[in-house]
């Protein structure tokens, strides 16, 4: 591409003569490449890191959480089921503990494996110290960090032997823990020697981990899981939840799908934007050098030579930008991925970079600017000598038509002249306007969609709370007699009423085929009074239970599961409850579950009166639902503590996972969603900042291209402040236009997009509400960005002296 020494000299002279323009072009390309490299690198490193960590943990394909302790001999029977490759077992229990210096005890999870050196599935990795031995325990990595625990610290547990202090001697990574920051309990690991102290019977387990024989398929896994549950039920062992896992895909991938969608939009928007800036820079260069082009042509230069000359300049700019952007994007992708993966308890060891992102950067970084520059370069190179040498003053060829003309007439009639100039300048370069606007509009739409998503999450939680009229749901590790529970809670203020529910593991069949559930942890039957005053789900078809359903085999099932299996209201299902024979049940209603298809056990509602006569645990219940006049989290906490203490005194164990306080639950849900919505919001803001950088670049190029015009304005009496105001106004018009377009666009896409993000990332079905507040706040934000983006170009423009402007 580079020719003789003289032309090489011209290329370097052009690049060095206008350093600010050269720096602007390099920084424009480098910014675009940096954003692309960082985002694509992040996606690659994150998904790769997650899947690697997942594979390294040897994930179980089926994980069954049992309702009670099971003898290890039962596990051996599961191993013999056809299709099962091997099994592993562990036990998780809840325990009360105090951290060093704490005055109040809290509930945590204690995990026990018989041999930590021989973990088959869901392997826990030792990060420091040693696996639990004798009376020393280990703590989970996220728990240690959250609670500030270190090796050597003593944790005081309430055990069967009373308070017992146990020293931490190791930090372990558990592949499937809910971060304590999102409401998850602290996790501790104990050795076999301590199992009796925590009431874990010898040779028992609570969680069964299974891998099936290859090849893996979801359908086969689901089928074998059903067989295992049936086998366990035959032995009188109930399964509370069943988790199915793809061995090659990390469970957190779904959460990232929405984030990656936003990242991808952002990456390509940045590339498009930097290409526009290149187009503008080259167009400015050609405009400034038209006379030189004329002279070169008059001296015999061909169109191709001229085009090569300017494309070489673009190539050099791109190469420099690439050299700057690559190391920065490597660092950006690595450090941001490390931070995000850490939330998922995954460590990135040693510096890694995405070669895929590098190749894309090289290809995009060198090709996109050249393609962007092709049109203005070719147009410039195709100019006749007469055209090139003549100069016709300020944009003499500028003619507006159609909508522009109408807008300009309206502006002329309604706005002061300076505003009309700013508006006219905005419309002068359509391609530049379009691309700059597109990024700001995308940012605006995303911002409003995400804010609507947050508003919808809150509305959904409010609606769900309104459907739940209990203050606290107490879950028991073993079903409890109603009378005893009533006696306990009656004396604890402000209890107003109590209602009892039961839960039973169930297998549902349609035409003798096990149905697929939308919930990923399996299904359980919730038996409740038909005149329940504590809960009423959102019924989307059929009806809710009523007293006429007493002692009838009637079910209300999840609408999504019904759709998945082609079940309609009025259909009959076969349900197998524990060791009982299968019975026919009629579906009378479908409910919509706000928890969607996330990690939850899906309830199927049935009348309590139907379950109890044939249930061995008659008048014993899994849950007590308490209504109470509670208005704040503090009141609720006091109430829950009083309940816990009272049950503890009666030696009744509460189940950490099914005991829920309504307000606290809402707060946990918010905490759980906040990092994801926060991350999305952060990305929308980043797109807006990229848009602002683009806008700043566009205005800066505008200053270069209109230097002579600024000189003329100066010559006819424009003060520095008038020039400054002109460019600030142009920036503000950009922001205002982007806002005006983004509102209807966001209105159109917000509901489907927010609902999609809700199900894929948050795992909930949203009750949608459009956030009008966000539309207003976006206006303020985009105008602020526009002013910030316009500030430097406006300041530079206001500093152009009249003579310098006129001689440009």
């Amino acid at each position: 591409m580079i020719f003789n020494a003289n032309l090489r000299q011209k290329v370097s002279a052009d690049l060095l003569a206008h350093k600010s323009r050269t720096l602007l072009a390099i920084s424009s390309i480098a910014t675009g490449l940096f954003v692309i490299g960082t985002l694509l690198g992040m996606m690659d490193l994150q998904l790769g890191g997650m899947d690697n960590a997942h594979r390294q943990s040897q994930p179980s394909h089926i994980s069954l959480m049992l309702k009670q302790d099971a003898d290890i001999a039962v596990a051996e029977t599961v191993r013999n089921i056809d299709g099962v490759a091997n099994i592993d077992t562990l036990t998780q229990i809840t325990a009360q503990f105090k951290t060093p210096g704490a005055t109040q005890s809290q509930t945590g999870t204690v995990l026990f494996r018989t041999d930590y050196q021989d973990q088959k599935y869901d392997r826990m990795t030792l990060l420091s110290g040693s696996f639990p031995r004798g009376k020393s325990i280990a703590v989970e990595r996220l728990s240690a960090r959250f609670a500030g625990l270190n090796s050597g610290d003593n944790i005081e547990f309430i055990t069967a032997n009373g308070a017992e202090k146990l020293a931490i001697n190791g930090i372990i990574r558990h592949p499937f823990v809910k971060p304590p920051a999102f409401g998850g309990p602290l996790h501790f690991f104990i050795a076999p020697e301590l199992a009796p102290v925590f009431g874990i019977p010898a040779h028992t387990f609570r969680q069964l981990l299974v891998q099936i024989k290859p090849p893996y398929s979801e359908e086969k896994t689901r089928h074998i899981a059903g067989e295992i549950r049936a086998k366990l039920a035959a032995s009188g062992i109930a399964v509370n939840a069943t988790l199915l896992q793809n061995p090659d895909r990390h469970w957190g991938r779904a959460i990232f799908s929405g984030i990656h969608l936003v990242l991808t939009v952002m990456a390509w928007a940045s590339l498009a934007l930097s290409s526009v800036l290149i187009l503008n820079t080259v167009a400015a260069l050609i405009t400034q050098q038209t006379d030189q082009i004329g002279i070169m042509k008059s001296l015999g230069a061909r169109r191709r030579t001229i085009a090569n000359l300017y494309l070489s300049e673009v190539f050099i700019l791109s190469l420099i930008a690439l050299l700057i952007a690559v190391p920065l994007s490597w660092a950006g992708a690595f450090y941001s991925s490390r931070w995000i993966l850490d939330v998922f308890n995954i460590g990135l060891n040693g510096f890694v970079y995405s070669s895929q992102a590098l190749y894309l950067m090289i290809a995009g970084g060198l090709l996109a600017p050249l393609l962007a520059a092709l049109w203005p370069v070719w147009k410039g190179a195709s100019m006749s000598v007469r055209q090139a040498i003549a100069s016709y003053g300020l944009g003499a060829d500028f003619v507006s038509r159609g909508f522009d003309r109408w807008l300009e007439r309206a502006a002329a009639a309604l706005l002061p002249t300076l505003y009309a100039v700013a508006l006219g300048n905005l419309l002068r370069r359509k391609a530049r306007l379009l691309w700059t606007q597109s990024v700001l509009i995308i940012a605006g739409v995303l911002f409003i969609v995400i804010m609507s998503l947050i508003a919808s999450v809150n509305l959904t939680l409010d609606n769900e709370l309104a459907r739940s009229r209990y203050a606290v749901r107490v879950g028991f590790t073993q079903d409890q007699p109603a009378e005893i529970v009533k006696d306990i809670v009656r004396n604890i203020p402000p209890t107003a009423a109590v209602e009892f529910w039961n839960r039973l593991p169930a297998e549902l069949f349609l035409h003798d085929k096990l149905i697929r559930q939308s919930g990923s942890l399996g299904v359980q039957m919730i038996a409740l009074p038909t005149d329940t005053s504590m809960y009423r789900p959102l019924i989307v078809a059929g009806r809710w239970l009523d007293p006429a359903d007493d002692r009838q085999n009637r079910l209300v099932i999840n609408a999504e599961t019904a759709e998945l299996n082609g079940i309609h209201v009025g259909d009959t299902l076969s349900a197998k409850l524990m060791q009982q024979p299968a019975h026919e049940w009629q579906v009378i209603g479908l409910y919509r579950w706000f928890a969607g298809s996330g990690y939850a056990v899906e309830p199927v509602y049935a009348p309590l009166s139907t379950i109890q006569p044939g249930n061995l645990n008659e008048r014993r219940h899994s849950f007590a639902l308490l209504s109470a006049d509670i208005h704040s989290l503090a009141e609720e906490k006091t109430y829950v503590e009083a309940l816990k203490t009272a049950f503890q005194q009666q030696h009744i164990k509460l189940d950490f996972y099914t005991t829920l306080a309504k307000l606290e639950q809402r707060q946990f849900a918010e905490n759980q969603f906040r990092p994801i919505t926060g991350m999305l919001l952060g990305l929308a803001v980043m797109i807006a900042v990229v848009g602002a950088i683009g806008l700043s670049g566009t205005l800066a190029i505008g200053v270069l291209q209109r230097t002579r015009e600024i000189g003329v304005l100066r010559a006819i009496g424009a003060s520095s402040s008038a020039i400054f105001k002109l460019f600030i106004l142009e920036g503000l018009f950009h922001g205002l236009l982007a806002w005006l377009i983004s509102i209807p666009a966001a209105f159109l896409v917000a509901e489907p997009l927010a609902k999609k993000l809700g199900t894929t990332m948050l795992g909930i079905h949203l009750d949608f509400v459009f956030s009008l507040l966000s539309a207003g706040s976006w206006l303020g934000f985009v105008l602020m960005l526009a002013v910030l983006a316009a500030y430097l170009p406006a300041r530079n423009a206001s500093r152009i002296a009249v003579r310098a402007g006129l001689s440009y």
Binding site: L394, V421, G424, N425, R428, E709, I716, S719, R803
Partner: protein
């Protein structure tokens, strides 16, 4: 009559690389209010530089420039912008109208910058000036939609927007055909009759001869200075 322009011992040079290039040598010049002065001379001999000094676009290296009572050599860039808006109207060779504004808006713009007239009177005056230069029917046209002569007349109307005492024109007819150039010159003559002072750089010797005073610049010095209407030479 009162002096509107007073140049005293003006020296101006430009530095090109390491070379100092003198452009004007010890120019002293007085122009009285109401004169129509044509500055002529070969290219690169300092005509435009002299004009730039009169309008405050450029500054002398030495000497004093007093125009309409203001010592321009002492004013800062910002003060000069404000001064220009009120005291001088500039007409460029290539018209330099703002392409995104129609002719009416181009004329309104300097009035908006200066803010001398109340807002409601600005539109009235802009229409009056368009009528004066014969462009009232093209008021809503963009510069790109009218001819070169019409653009130049609009540029003259713009120069008159704030009713300055001095109109300065750099090759105002250099880009126009002879008939259009004549009409522009007529316009300048009419302005002179209304009491405006006009200083015009031109290569067109016929037009220069029609002015009231002809100043020839050669090698950065005043080579000839003639009061044409009085047929009197002072050089």
């Amino acid at each position: 009559m009162q002096n509107i322009i007073q140049l005293t011992h003006i020296h101006k040079s430009y530095t090109l690389g390491q070379l100092k290039q003198p452009v004007l040598h010890d120019i002293s010049l007085t122009i009285t209010a109401g004169e129509f002065v044509a500055i002529v001379g070969p290219s690169g001999n300092g005509k435009s530089t002299l004009l730039n000094l009169l309008t405050g676009i450029d500054r002398p290296c030495r000497g004093e420039v007093v125009v309409n009572g203001s010592a321009l050599h002492r004013l800062r860039e910002e003060q000069l912008s404000i001064w220009r808006g009120t005291n001088v109207g500039i007409v460029f060779q290539f018209f330099q109208l703002l392409p995104s504004l129609n002719l009416l808006q181009n004329i309104l713009l300097p009035m908006d910058f200066v803010g001398k007239l109340p807002k409601r009177e600005r539109l009235e005056r802009a229409r009056y000036l368009l009528n004066l230069v014969g462009l009232d029917e093209q008021a809503k046209q963009l510069p790109g939609q009218v001819s070169g002569g019409q653009q130049q007349r609009a540029a003259i109307a713009r120069a008159l927007a704030n009713d300055p005492a001095l109109i300065v024109a750099d090759e105002p007819t250099g880009n126009l055909d002879s008939a259009t150039a004549d009409s522009v010159f007529e316009l300048f003559s009419a302005l002179q009759r209304q009491g405006k002072t006009l200083v015009m750089v031109t290569h067109n010797e016929d037009l220069a001869q029609s002015a009231s005073r002809r100043i020839a610049i050669h090698d950065g010095r005043i080579h000839d200075d003639q009061y044409l209407s009085k047929q009197q030479s002072t050089a």
